[in-house]
């Protein structure tokens, strides 16, 4: 079997304790899992389970208290804040919970921002950005500022801002959490369509079990803090999937029950 693309080994995290309060509790302890190239991995866990903390450590914007993360079998030191390499030299993309669009840039300028700072702004990459803008229906809004867009549009912009520079791994932290059900389903469909085009490796964190099943090849269940892996489920529902009808798929019910029993 080929080596996993991304491997989390025995990862632990506790935040620095405040003076006079004693040691702070472990948020994550002994967490291990791996992701294959081209796999869509979903991780479900209750709120406060350390899902965001986990992704922050993989993206290297936060330190780990123990354990390591390996990318293509190459380990990064995660205990020293000065040694962190956020985004692992553009190889790990991160779509955060908030869209984090730069408010003084128009939609298109925001989408082109990664290419610009990486010095990769060419006719070819611009064409790719245009393609993505059109694929998610933002073509008519390229000169709008973020505050002039709807929540769903901002999410789409932040999603394609990461897709545009094509990092081998993309982390997603409940990207559709704050949206209404209708927009959410639309965006899940968009995401699956875009993923089908490139088959990126995705680690998608959510608290919504149905979303985890609908999107993933495999779903991991996180326990309450201190978080570790409480269960693993292969999602055998064939692709392409019908997001809107996923709940009526014969395998959905049993999967949902099994996962829910583990999410406490």
């Amino acid at each position: 079997m080929a080596d996993p693309l991304l491997e989390v080994r025995d990862l632990s995290k506790r935040f620095a304790s405040r003076a006079g309060r004693g040691p702070s509790p472990w948020v994550i302890q002994g967490l291990s899992f791996s992701v294959k190239e081209g796999e869509f991995l979903t991780i479900v866990g209750p709120s406060g389970a350390g899902k965001t903390t986990l992704l922050n450590m993989i993206a290297q914007i936060d330190t780990a208290s123990g354990g390591e993360v390996r990318f293509q079998s190459e380990a990064s030191p995660l205990n020293d804040p000065k040694a962190l390499n956020p985004g692992l030299s553009c190889r790990i993309g991160y779509v955060t919970q908030e869209d984090n669009l730069l408010p003084w840039r128009t939609t298109l300028q925001n989408v082109l921002f990664p290419l610009e700072v990486q010095g990769r702004l060419t006719a070819e990459t611009r064409a790719r950005a245009d393609l993505l803008m059109r694929a998610v229906g933002l073509a008519d809004f390229e000169h709008h500022y973020p505050h002039e867009l709807s929540g769903g549009m901002r999410k789409r912009a932040s999603l394609i801002r990461t897709l545009v520079y094509d990092p081998p791994v993309i982390l997603m932290d409940e990207p559709f959490g704050a949206l209404d059900a209708q927009t959410r389903m639309q965006l899940q469909e968009d995401l699956l369509r875009l993923w089908n085009l490139g088959r990126k490796t995705i680690v998608f964190v959510t608290h919504d079990i149905a979303e985890a099943i609908a999107l993933g090849d495999r779903t991991l269940v996180l326990s309450r803090a201190p978080a570790h892996i409480a269960g693993e489920h292969i999602i055998t529902i064939p692709r392409p999937r019908d997001i809107r009808g996923i709940m009526t798929h014969p395998e959905f019910g049993a999967l949902y029950q099994r996962i829910r029993a583990q999410v406490q």
Binding site: A59, P86, I92, Y94, T96, W104, P114, V117, H147, T162
Partner: protein, 272 residues
């Protein structure tokens, strides 16, 4: 549409139109009132204390035609602007440097904040002692008075930058220089403009005060020299011109702010 509807439509448009004209008319009326009070004051107090507004206008026109006024304006603006650029550049650069050195910042911050309390005008005699009586002491005064509001605003602005935007930029591969220029600089624009609104008029005031004390040109010299010659009209003419300069600078600044901050939702709603 019936005639009745037309009648009903009128008041809907009316008050809005009137309100808009009303503000302009009100402003003009207020200006006339102020000039009238000035004129009455001049008549009551006598030309020794309050110059007649029409004589002041005559003087401004005469001095403009002879070119002396423009020369004074040029000299004052030159000192204000050079001093402003020096003070503003250091007020921006220092917080950006300190950002990279958090421990040094913690060490020096209380001293910088304490030095805000030193009355800068009180330092002018020292500046004259150290730097002579040419432009240098005036530039020091203007530079210092501009430095503090800019430094404090930019310092606070840098601290208020959204960490999440910085993290996003790091993850997509932005260098520290790019982050400073793109994320931090743009984030602190509102702070920077708030500081400029204080610093630019201050620069002109400081230059004028410098000219009271040193040199034989500039609006400050014009005002002080006129006073020594018991020429109250000259004093008032200088004050009117100095005020006009500050008002013009403010108008330019407001327009610049409007353009730079076009992306800000608040600015647009306020424009209504």
């Amino acid at each position: 549409m019936t005639a009745r509807d037309d009648v009903l439509d009128l008041p809907r448009e009316g008050p809005l139109q009137w309100r808009r004209y009303g503000v302009t008319i009100g402003r003009a009326a207020l200006l006339l009132l102020l000039i009238a009070i000035w004129k009455l004051g001049a008549d009551a107090a006598g030309p020794m204390y309050v110059a007649d507004p029409f004589k002041v206008l005559e003087r401004i026109i005469a001095d403009t035609q002879s070119g002396t006024l423009l020369r004074h304006v040029y000299v004052t603006l030159r000192i204000s602007m050079i001093g402003f650029v020096i003070g503003c550049a250091s007020g921006v650069a220092l917080p950006f440097l300190l950002r990279r050195l958090p421990r040094l910042t913690d060490a020096v911050e209380p001293y910088i904040m304490a030095s805000v309390g030193v009355p800068k005008y009180a330092l002018v005699p020292l500046f004259i002692l150290y730097f002579g009586i040419d432009d240098a002491p005036k530039l020091w005064l203007v530079g210092l008075l501009v430095f503090y509001p800019v430094f404090i605003a930019v310092f606070a602005g840098i601290r208020s930058v959204d960490r999440r935007l910085i993290n996003m930029a790091r993850i997509v591969g932005a260098s520290e220089a790019t982050i400073a220029r793109e994320v931090i600089w743009n984030s602190l624009m509102p702070f920077f403009f708030a500081a400029l609104k204080i610093a630019l008029p201050r620069a002109v005031s400081a230059a004028i005060i410098g000219e009271f004390l040193v040199g034989n040109e500039g609006l400050g010299y014009l005002i002080e020299h006129s006073r020594q010659n018991v020429d109250t009209t000259g004093v008032f003419a200088g004050i009117v011109i100095a005020t006009a300069i500050v008002l013009i600078i403010n108008a330019v600044l407001v327009e610049l702010d409007r353009r730079v901050s076009a992306w800000r939702p608040i600015a647009r709603e306020m424009a209504l």
